[in-house]
């Protein structure tokens, strides 16, 4: 460790700053403009560099690590193509508010703008998909810029920040000075909620007959699950969660209503439709949640707590906006809640009737293997204790329905951007962060191929990721929309003729692999995979091709109008 006051070169400053930010892992890939950094890295023993096989993989790994641990994920890539390959991962982290710092090499300052070899204006390219980004123009600015980058990525609503470092900056030297504190005059997020607003919320809650908590990922980022649990139980308020909010409240608790929205539970959506008070915390009224906005929670007085004021009144006009940290909001609320509360039993009984009327089920009549069964079985065998990572599509929605999330930071999924290819690298990244719980990946056969190269990273580092490949030989979610809304024109969604043999693919990478084609072999394969910890293991689950995810709210429809089954798609309830 170097101390302040020493003369260091840019690369040494870079690592010295990461050390002081307590960085454990860097997900990276070397290249021309980063040669000096990698030269210095050769001697660095206390920060682990994980070599990926594609820069997009590095960004998703960093995000998986960040979501699993709450710490910022760190990415290091070279200029030009190295930098542009991170764009999808950065956009993903931006949409899902994951803390991430991406360091890109850049051509020497004197060549910037000259169309130099491996030059790309990555600061320009990533401006709309980062919380903020920087081009370092002087080595004396490097330490403060890195400090600011970590501060911005992790403070307030988390998000990705990019730091572009020209080659000459990394080579030149200056006296190292690490600023302990950082003050950015244009960045002052509101943490503390306005007490009058919280008191007003408490009064509304105390008087509500049919209240509903609508919980998003913000509660997990704010580490506010404990406060949420206390509030919900103490006040007897049912809790519905967004995809990113799952696990904020235990899924096995009677007050948990699972996910709401497009593929949410029937009872959660009915409750939204009928509630007289909606308390949104750390959620952003996304279109996948609200459906048609005019008919979303039509009878409810709406309270919205969010750390980001732009989320308030963006999609839905609310009655009581409360800007601030979710933990602060919930903790303050608990302090000011009046003793007296309404009897909520009739409301809970009503919800339970909906639950019984249309439970989440799947067919188990034949001996066919279904995704729902696989997820249900994994949920049972892991006792809801796994860190579950998904890719994007049908299996992702089924995971939200059939895996019972007990704890926060248990689901890692691409929600906002919906990035196919996210799952495998994110699971590897999560496994670097979490060693005491199994890391399970559910991934479709389409998405798996999008970042399949990262199997090398998993094998090389012996990451015990359970890769549960949900293989229906189709782009299942697109196929579902084609069947329901596009006259069954299965245009380019059938991968059956072109998919590789996934067991052989895995084995070629040095990854253990199994295949399961019926419920019994699936059950055994899951047991075997969960017991195997000597590296990654893939199970190729050959599931039925044409199952669809229900319930479903057609895009733009009211969430009270759900399709409940394929056989009679015209029957809306």
């Amino acid at each position: 460790m170097h101390s302040s006051g020493q003369t260091l070169n840019g690369s040494e400053i870079f690592f010295e700053c990461l050390r002081r930010e307590h960085v454990e892992y860097i997900f990276g890939y070397p290249g021309g403009s980063l040669l000096k950094v990698y030269e210095t890295l050769h001697e660095v023993k206390d920060i682990h560099h994980i070599l990926v096989r594609h820069e997009q993989g590095a960004t998703h790994m960093a995000e998986g690590y960040a979501r699993a641990t709450g710490k910022p994920g760190v990415v290091l890539v070279t200029s030009g193509p190295g930098a542009t390959n991170t764009v999808t991962g950065i956009a993903n982290a931006y949409m899902d508010s994951s803390p991430m710092v991406v360091f890109t090499g850049q051509v020497p300052s004197s060549l910037i703008g000259n169309d130099a070899f491996q030059e790309a204006d990555i600061v320009g390219i990533t401006r709309p998909i980062t919380k903020h980004n920087f081009l370092v123009k002087d080595v004396r600015e490097l330490a403060i810029t890195i400090r600011k980058a970590f501060f911005l990525a992790t403070t307030g609503r988390p998000g990705p920040v990019l730091v572009d470092m020209p080659k000459d900056i990394l080579n030149s030297s200056c006296v190292f000075d690490f600023p302990e504190t950082v003050d950015i005059r244009g960045f002052k997020p509101t943490f503390k909620c306005h007490i009058n607003q919280v008191e007003k919320a408490a009064q509304k809650i105390a008087r509500a007959k049919r209240p509903l908590l609508y919980i998003g990922g913000g509660v997990i980022s704010a580490e506010a699950s404990e406060e949420l649990r206390t509030l919900a139980i103490q006040q007897n308020i049912p809790v519905t969660m967004t995809l990113q909010g799952l696990g904020a409240f235990p899924g096995n608790h009677p007050l948990s209503m699972g996910m709401l929205g497009m593929h949410g539970t029937y009872w959660a959506n009915q409750a939204v439709n009928k509630c007289d008070l909606l308390i949104a915390v750390g959620a952003r009224f996304d279109d996948r949640v609200t459906g048609k906005v005019d008919t979303f929670a039509p009878q409810a007085y709406k309270i919205h707590n969010d750390i980001d004021p732009t989320n308030v009144d963006k999609n839905i006009k609310v009655d009581l906006p409360i800007v601030g940290d979710a933990k602060n909001f919930l903790a303050t609320l608990l302090e000011v809640m009046p003793e007296k509360k309404e009897n909520r039993e009739p409301w809970l009984a009503e919800i339970n009737a909906w639950r019984e009327q249309c439970p989440l089920t799947y067919s188990s009549e034949d001996d066919a293997l279904r995704t729902e069964f696989v997820i249900d079985e994994v949920s049972r065998q892991t006792g809801g204790n796994a860190v579950v990572v998904t890719d994007v599509g049908q299996h992702q929605m089924w995971t939200s329905q059939f895996y019972t999330f007990i704890n926060p930071r248990s689901i890692i999924t691409s929600g906002g951007l919906g990035t196919m290819g996210f799952g495998l690298p994110a699971a590897i990244g999560a496994a670097f962060g979490i060693k005491d719980r199994p890391v399970v990946l559910f991934c479709g056969d389409g998405g798996f191929m999008m970042n399949v190269q990262e199997l090398v990273t998993a094998v090389h580092n012996k990451m015990p990721v359970k890769i549960f490949l949900i293989n229906n030989s189709f782009l299942g979610m697109v196929r579902q929309w084609q069947e329901l809304f596009h006259q069954e024109k299965y245009s380019f969604t059938d991968l059956g003729d072109s998919n590789p043999d996934f067991v052989k693919v895995a084995e070629a990478f040095g990854c253990k692999a199994l295949k399961a084609e019926n419920p019994e072999s699936a059950r055994q394969a899951i047991t075997e995979a969960l017991a195997y910890n000597d590296g990654p293991i893939l199970v190729d689950f050959r599931v039925v091709k044409k199952d669809m995810v229900f319930p479903m709210v057609p895009a733009g429809g009211s969430i009270s109008d759900m399709l409940l089954a394929r056989l009679n798609p015209k029957t809306m309830v």
């Binding site: 244009g186 732009t310 308030v312």
Partner: protein, 158 residues
């Protein structure tokens, strides 16, 4: 309705781009934007003219505030403020209309900044509305070229 928003931003490369890009990315209307240094050389003032319903304007203000480089965002629309725009305009000049043009320049409190055999360049300062009117009135005489600065605005002093 029309809003005039004053934004103090860090005087750094990219600040203008961040603001302009945010407007286009979020589909907000942007009628004009002007920027220049303030009394503090580390800070620039941006004056933005935009249009929208209250709910949109509230999002515009919040999104502007959210940018890390913005220091202060003020919607001047409903506050006492002074708003000015500079117009530079070159007109065709001929003997027959010369007098009318000069009279109109006086009416609009404009100035002649350049004059040639067949053209005259004038400057007019005023609110964007006045500038619009000026252009309409001069249009029949033949506008060869024009440039508008976009509005700049400031709070009225105490």
């Amino acid at each position: 309705m029309k809003h005039i928003i004053s934004v103090l931003v860090e005087n750094k490369f990219g600040s203008l781009n961040r603001v302009a890009a945010m407007f286009s990315a979020r589909g907000f209307n942007l009628e004009s934007i002007s920027i220049g240094e303030t009394e503090d050389t580390e800070i620039s003032r941006m004056t933005i003219v935009t249009r929208g319903e209250d709910q949109i304007i509230s999002q515009v203000l919040k999104q502007l505030n959210r940018l890390v480089d913005t220091i202060k965002v003020t919607d001047l629309t409903r506050q006492p403020h002074v708003e000015r725009e500079l117009l530079l305009m070159t007109l065709k000049l001929s003997k027959t209309v010369q007098h009318e043009i000069f009279e109109l320049i006086t009416v609009f409190k404009g100035k002649v900044v350049d004059i040639k055999q067949k053209s005259i360049t004038i400057e007019v300062i005023g609110s964007p509305d006045k500038i619009n009117t000026t252009i309409d009135i001069f249009r029949p005489y033949g506008i060869k070229e024009l440039a508008r600065s976009g509005a700049v605005a400031i709070h009225r002093g105490e």
